[in-house]
C-alpha cells in the first residue's frame, strides 16, 4: 500500500479543510442546529473552524490516537462544546451528531483526494470513521460525567437536607427521619443530633421514624446507637412513628429498642412536655363559645 489510511486522512484534512468545513456547516444547518435559535450562526462557524483546525493539528502530530497529548486541545474544545450545549438545552444526540455529521464531508473529501487509489481511500475512510467515533463518544462521556456530577451533588444535598434536627420547645428536639437509613446517613444523623443536643441544651430528643420504609436489624442497631449516644450526652430519647406493620415486624425480628416509644409524633411531644413539667390545655373560652 503506497499511502496508509491515517496518512491519507491527514493529507485530506490538511488539503480540503475549507471544503470540509463548508460542507459540514451546510449539513449542521440542514440538520436543524440553528433552527431552534439556541445557537447563533457565527458561534457555530467558530466552533466548526476551531474543531477542524485542532483535528488537523492532532492528525499531523499523533495520527488517529485521540488519547494522545496532541489531541488535548481538541478534547478540551469538544468538552467545552458538549458542556455549553447541555446548558443550551441540546439533547445528547444533538451534541454527538455535531461530531458524527463531520463524517460525510470527510468521506467525500477523501474520495476527491484519493479517489484514484482505492486502498488509500478505504484506509482513509476507515481511519476517519474510527477517529470521529472516538471523538463523538468523548462528547458523550463529558455529557454523562456532567450529569453524574449533578446527581452526586444532589445525593449529598439530600443526605444533608433529609436529616434536620428541629427544636419543638425549650429542651425538646425532634429528629424526623425520612428514607433509607444506611451507615453513611446514620453518621450524619447522629452527628446532627448530638450537636443539636449540645446547642439547645436538650433534655429530650424525639426520633420520628414515620418516613423510614423498612426497619430491619441494621436500622434498629443504628437507632440504638443514636439513642445510647444521646443518653451519654444527658438527653432521653423517645421513638415515635412506629407504624403497626413495623411494630409487628420488629417483634418477629426480636428487636427490642428499650426506649419509650409512641405511635405518633404528637403523642411523643405531649409526653416530652409532661416530662419537662408542662401541660397543654385548651382555653376555657375557646372550649365553649356559646356558653355566654
Amino acid at each position: 500500500m503506497a499511502v496508509d489510511g491515517t496518512a491519507a486522512l491527514t493529507q485530506t484534512v490538511a488539503a480540503e479543510e475549507a471544503g470540509i468545513r463548508a460542507a459540514w456547516l451546510a449539513l449542521l444547518k440542514a440538520g436543524g442546529s440553528l433552527q431552534t435559535g439556541r445557537i447563533r450562526e457565527a458561534e457555530l462557524d467558530t466552533q466548526a473552524r476551531t474543531v477542524l483546525e485542532q483535528l488537523r493539528d492532532g492528525l499531523a502530530a499523533a495520527g488517529t490516537d485521540v488519547r494522545a497529548d496532541a489531541y488535548a486541545a481538541l478534547r478540551d474544545t469538544l468538552s467545552e462544546i458538549s458542556r455549553s450545549r447541555a446548558i443550551q438545552g441540546f439533547t445528547p444526540t444533538d451534541t454527538a451528531n455535531f461530531v458524527f455529521s463531520l463524517k460525510e464531508p470527510v468521506f467525500a473529501a477523501i474520495d476527491r483526494t484519493h479517489g484514484g487509489d482505492p486502498a488509500a481511500a478505504t484506509g482513509g475512510t476507515w481511519a476517519a470513521s474510527h477517529l470521529l467515533d472516538a471523538l463523538g463518544l468523548h462528547t458523550m462521556e463529558v455529557f454523562l460525567a456532567g450529569r453524574e456530577e449533578v446527581i452526586g451533588r444532589q445525593g449529598q444535598e439530600i443526605a444533608e437536607l433529609s436529616t434536620p434536627v428541629v427544636r419543638l420547645w425549650d429542651g425538646i428536639l425532634a429528629l424526623p427521619l425520612i428514607g433509607t437509613l444506611d451507615s453513611a446517613r446514620t453518621g450524619v444523623v447522629m452527628e446532627n443530633l448530638l450537636q443539636a443536643i449540645v446547642d439547645e441544651e436538650a433534655e429530650i430528643a424525639i426520633i420520628d421514624i414515620t418516613g423510614v420504609p423498612t426497619v430491619d436489624t441494621l436500622v434498629a442497631q443504628h437507632l440504638l446507637k443514636a439513642i445510647a449516644a444521646a443518653r451519654l450526652m444527658g438527653a432521653d430519647c423517645i421513638v415515635s412513628g412506629i407504624r403497626p406493620q413495623i411494630a409487628q415486624t420488629m417483634v418477629h425480628l426480636g428487636v427490642e429498642l428499650n426506649v419509650v416509644s409512641k405511635s405518633t409524633l404528637a403523642d411523643a411531644f405531649a409526653l416530652a412536655l409532661k416530662r419537662t413539667g408542662r401541660i397543654v390545655t385548651r382555653r376555657q373560652s375557646a372550649l365553649s363559645p356559646t356558653a355566654s
Partner: protein, 134 residues
C-alpha cells in the same frame, strides 16, 4: 410448583440491598400481599441481602412469583459463593453474630417467612430460600 415470573438481581453493594427491597416490594404488592405481610417479606429480604453482602462477599437473589391453584406466593433465593456457615444452628441462634450486628437477622428472617430453608457448605457458599404465601 409453577413459577410465573422470575427475576434475578445482583447483590454487590449496599445500594443493591435497597434495590432488592424495592423489587421485593413491587412483587409483594403484585401478588396482593397485605401491608403487614409486605413489610415482613421486605424486612426479611433486607436481612438476607445484607447477610449475602457482608458475610457471603456478594452474590445474587432470585425472585420467583409462584402460583398454586388460587394461592400466590413469593419465593426469594439468596445465593453466594462465600466462606459458608460452619454451624447453621448456632447462626440461627438469636444474638449470635460474627460481624458486630445484633445477631437477629437470620433467625428474624426465618420468623418473618412462611417457609425457610438454608443450605451452606464451608468454603463453597450459602443458599437461603424463603417464601411468603398470600
Amino acid at each position: 410448583m409453577p413459577v410465573t415470573t422470575t427475576e434475578v438481581l445482583p447483590i454487590r453493594t449496599s445500594d443493591d440491598v435497597v434495590r432488592v427491597r424495592q423489587a421485593v416490594r413491587v412483587r409483594a404488592v403484585g401478588i396482593g400481599l397485605g401491608l403487614v405481610d409486605q413489610t415482613k417479606i421486605i424486612t426479611a429480604a433486607s436481612e438476607l441481602a445484607r447477610n449475602t453482602l457482608d458475610y457471603g462477599g456478594g452474590g445474587e437473589v432470585r425472585l420467583d412469583v409462584m402460583q398454586e391453584g388460587a394461592r400466590r406466593g413469593l419465593r426469594l433465593s439468596f445465593v453466594d459463593q462465600g466462606p459458608g456457615i460452619p454451624d447453621i444452628a448456632r447462626a440461627l441462634t438469636d444474638h449470635y453474630t460474627t460481624g458486630g450486628g445484633l445477631g437477629l437477622g437470620l433467625g428474624g428472617a426465618k420468623r418473618l417467612s412462611n417457609e425457610f430453608h438454608i443450605e451452606s457448605t464451608p468454603g463453597v457458599g450459602t443458599r437461603v430460600t424463603i417464601a411468603r404465601w398470600k
